[in-house]
């Protein structure tokens, strides 16, 4: 009658339960397969755009060719009016429109300063950002090349002219992810996020099912009515499997796909392990405050889903409402995310991350807070279907 027996009982429980196995192994691995194959090279290429060339001269056609030569942009259509192009945008055939006005080349040479316009659609954020960069670069180049012709005609060297036209050049260094790889950017956090969600759900589920099946007393009796022993016996087999899954995710990302890992394996593997046990502790807390299967699971899923937005992956936390900024710390994933940024992406000193490791370990105190309430619920609650 100890932890070991409870663990064996737990393994028997989920061996005969396909839903259980799906949640613990199937869902996280399927998501890893999905996200790591979905984004492939990590940067979308050949995004469709339209050009409205009202000028139609060698100069304007050359401009279009330059744009087309960018890896991200591909002109799939040439329309004769802006309205036509806008309709194609609304049909989502294209993500951007490049508009060259009538008499563009004549006006440019005679100094009438024609206006090139480019239209992007931020309702599709990723493709529109990429197209925006290309279209802007080409417009700046168009400006420079017209100016360059004039300057060089006035007897200046190319270097002199360029210095005049564009005295400042900005070299950008995208730290940590110079390839703008979206797969690195997203998978590093979304996959652990899914793992956290599934751990919340499964921890709540496995305890809730004891209440529902009326086996809670039997379970407590096996651990001599010590909740600590009961929980350890029940959750340790899950910890083991989740740890294997979590480490497999790390191996896939850092080993197989060579995502940046500047400080070696230890910081990330330990962060992953802490994320797993912190999430389990979070799960115990949830079923502790709402010891009814449907409510506990509802809480776990709502909290788990919210994590993806609150941790500041796509939209930075520092820009959110102060109340939400402090709430973000309630999610183990937030701390994991900060560790990943510091340790794996940049390889910063350990000094900057230890607080996050401690915070993750701090989640382990949650079951202590709710223990007596949970035990009472396990002993006296009766499941009402």
């Amino acid at each position: 009658m100890n932890c070991y027996d409870i663990a064996r009982r737990e393994i028997r429980r989920f061996a005969g339960h396909p839903v259980y196995l799906f949640g613990i192994l199937g869902a996280p691995l399927f998501c890893a397969f999905f996200f790591l194959t979905l984004m492939g090279d990590g940067l979308p290429a050949e995004l469709p755009a339209a050009v409205v060339d009202m000028d139609d001269t060698p100069v304007s056609r050359n401009l279009v060719r330059q744009l087309d030569a960018f890896k991200e942009t591909r002109f799939v259509m040439k329309t004769h009016s802006f309205t036509e192009a806008r309709l194609e945008m609304q049909k989502r055939q294209i993500y951007g429109i490049y508009f060259i006005p009538e008499h563009f080349s004549a006006d440019a040479i005679t100094g009438k300063q024609p206006v090139l316009s480019f239209y992007i659609n931020p309702s599709y954020l990723v493709p529109s950002t990429l197209l925006f960069q290309d279209m802007k670069t080409v417009s700046v180049l168009a400006n420079a090349s017209v100016g360059l012709q004039k300057e060089m005609a006035a007897g200046q060297t190319e270097a002199q002219s360029m210095a005049k036209l564009q005295p400042f050049v900005i070299d950008t260094h995208a730290l940590g992810n110079p390839w703008f790889n979206y797969s690195i950017y997203l998978c590093n956090t979304i996959l652990p996020g899914i793992l956290q969600l599934m751990i919340f759900l499964l921890t709540v589920y496995s305890i809730a099912m004891e209440i529902k099946d009326g086996t809670a007393r039997e379970w407590l009796r096996m651990g001599n009515y010590s909740l600590t022993r009961c929980l350890l016996g029940k959750l340790l087999p899950q910890t083991l499997i989740f740890t294997i899954t979590g480490f497999a995710l790390c191996a896939w990302m850092y080993g197989f796909l060579n995502f940046p890992l500047h400080k070696g394996w230890l910081p990330m593997l330990s962060a992953m392990f802490l994320l797993i046990i912190a999430s389990q502790a979070g799960g115990v807390f949830m079923i502790g405050i709402l010891p009814v299967p449907r409510l506990g699971l509802g809480l776990a899923s709502l909290f788990g889903m919210l994590a993806f937005s609150v941790i500041g992956l796509s939209y930075p936390v520092s820009n959110m409402h102060p109340a939400i900024q402090s709430c973000a710390n309630l999610f183990p994933l937030r701390h994991y995310f900060l560790i990943y940024v510091d340790q794996a992406l940049y390889g910063r000193d350990w000094v900057y991350s230890w607080v996050q490791y401690v915070a993750l370990a701090g989640f382990l105190s949650l079951p202590l807070l709710i223990g007596s309430h949970l035990k009472r619920a396990l002993l006296y609650f009766k499941y009402i279907p």
Binding site: V19, C31, L38, G40, A45, L47, R86, Q90, R92, Y95, A108, Q113, V115, L116, S117, F118, N121, P122, S123, V126, P127, S128, S139, N143, V146, G147, K150, K164, L165, Q166, P167, F168, V169, D171, H173, A174, N177, Y185, G193, M198, L201, L202, Y205, R294, L295, L297, G298, A300, L306, S309, V310, G312, S314, Y315, P316, N319, M320, H321, V341, Y352
Partner: protein, 411 residues
């Protein structure tokens, strides 16, 4: 004549049965706390929560550390102008890159702009000079804010600088032409400030409807599954042995449709207004589009509900799919860059055409003819899932009856 009246009586009985099932299902929903949470509480609170999280829309005052090794009038002017842009805030000027790096490590700054020592000298001797911008890539929005502001300032100062240096023989206008022979303008369509909430929240709203319907209906299905397994003597529909599959499927789906009409009013009409998201669409078009979307979601959920063995299993099977469905919808990751296999899979779920169509009508002001593909796809999905839902309930009726429905034969 007799045939006629028999047909009439079948129709009459069918309608009566359908409405009885409808009423029964409404009661079922309200009797079940878990379902009430997912049908009402989640659609009520979740959209508010998301809109609140992303409420600031765009990154303002992103923190930038500056390393000024040149320390000249020109570099100071540059720094002052960057600080003055709405998107960037300069947190400090340092002489040494290490110092700025430390500020970044401490998360006081998310980027570094470096002026090299020869910065001013190069420009004044008529050479191009290079500035280095280092960006934190843990959030792409910082990168965007830094790069756009720095580029904007560098072009402006470059222009002024050139005007000053040109011989006085030029007039103001001719200098401007020399510096800027071609103008360009950038226009953000539909979502004019390029805000993050305006981009993501409409998609999330549609997804919330999809997922809460799925979870709620599958929970009801799971409850029925449990009763079936336990050989519960009380039949699922308590007072009358409804024989027709069609009556059950129609009655139940009408109940969900009624409830979700109310939910949609809140989620799709009130919430966007509360948070002033772009609303370019014609309300009539939105309404016409939502009808097949709701039907497809409901029948899809009713099809899946047959596979739920317990009322808790939908949580483990369905909740995590929200993240996948959002990416499959093509709103954040462009469909052009998706492997064909995942693209094909995305057509299985009503959320894909639902999100695509709704965003385009609601945010981009498209009419139904521009979303014809999505609109047709939704109707096809609704049709296919209706048939599958009928088969599912038919199967359940047949397999439920012999042992667990003993009383119905006598009634």
């Amino acid at each position: 004549m007799e045939k006629d009246s028999r047909l009439l009586s079948i129709i009459k009985e069918g309608t009566e049965d359908t409405f009885a099932v409808w009423k029964e299902e409404l009661k079922n929903v309200f009797r079940d706390g878990g379902v009430v949470i997912f049908f009402f509480l989640v659609p009520l609170c979740y959209p508010l929560l998301y809109a609140f999280i992303y409420d600031n829309e765009i990154v303002r005052e992103a923190k930038l550390a500056v390393v000024d090794q040149s320390a000249t009038y020109l570099s100071r002017e540059f720094i002052r102008r960057i600080d003055a842009t709405p998107d960037v805030q300069v947190i400090g000027v340092y002489t040494d890159l290490e110092e700025a790096r430390r500020r970044m490590d401490q998360k006081d700054a998310y980027g570094i702009l470096l002026f090299p020592s020869e910065f001013s000298r190069e420009v004044h001797t008529g050479r191009q000079t290079r500035l280095s911008l280092y960006c934190d890539m843990s959030s792409l929005l910082y990168y965007k804010a830094f790069l756009l502001s720095a580029t904007e300032v560098s072009l402006d100062i470059g222009k002024e600088f050139m005007k000053r240096n040109e011989p006085a023989a030029f007039t103001e206008a001719s200098q401007e032409i020399l510096v800027n022979p071609v103008h360009y303008e950038q226009v953000m369509m539909f979502n004019t400030q390029g805000g993050f909430a305006s981009f993501l929240v409409p998609a999330i709203l549609i997804l919330i409807i999809h997922q809460t319907l799925l979870l709620g209906i599958c929970m009801l299905g799971g409850t029925a599954g449990e009763k079936r397994r336990l050989r519960d003597p009380s039949p699922p529909l308590s007072f009358r042995p409804y024989s027709g599959t069609l009556r059950i499927v129609l009655g139940k789906s009408l109940a969900y449709l009624l409830l979700y009409t109310v939910v949609c009013l809140w989620v799709l009409a009130v919430v966007p207004r509360l948070f002033s998201l772009p609303q370019a669409g014609d309300p009539g078009d939105v309404l016409l589009f939502i009808l097949p979307y709701l039907s497809a979601c409901i029948f899809f959920a009713m099809t899946l509900s047959g596979f739920m063995t317990s009322r808790e299993s939908p949580f483990l099977l369905l909740v995590f799919t929200s993240v996948i469905l959002l990416f499959l919808s093509g709103i954040s990751w462009p469909v052009e860059a998706m492997p064909p296999f995942w693209r094909a899979l995305s057509y299985v779920f009503p959320s894909t055409p639902g999100i695509q169509g709704f965003v385009r009508i609601h945010t981009m002001g498209a009419s139904l003819s521009e979303v014809a593909f999505e609109y047709r796809l939704l109707w096809i999905q609704a049709g296919v899932y209706f048939i599958l839902a009928c088969l599912n309930y038919r199967y359940r009726l047949i397999h439920y009856r012999p042992d667990a429905f003993p009383s119905s034969a006598q009634r």
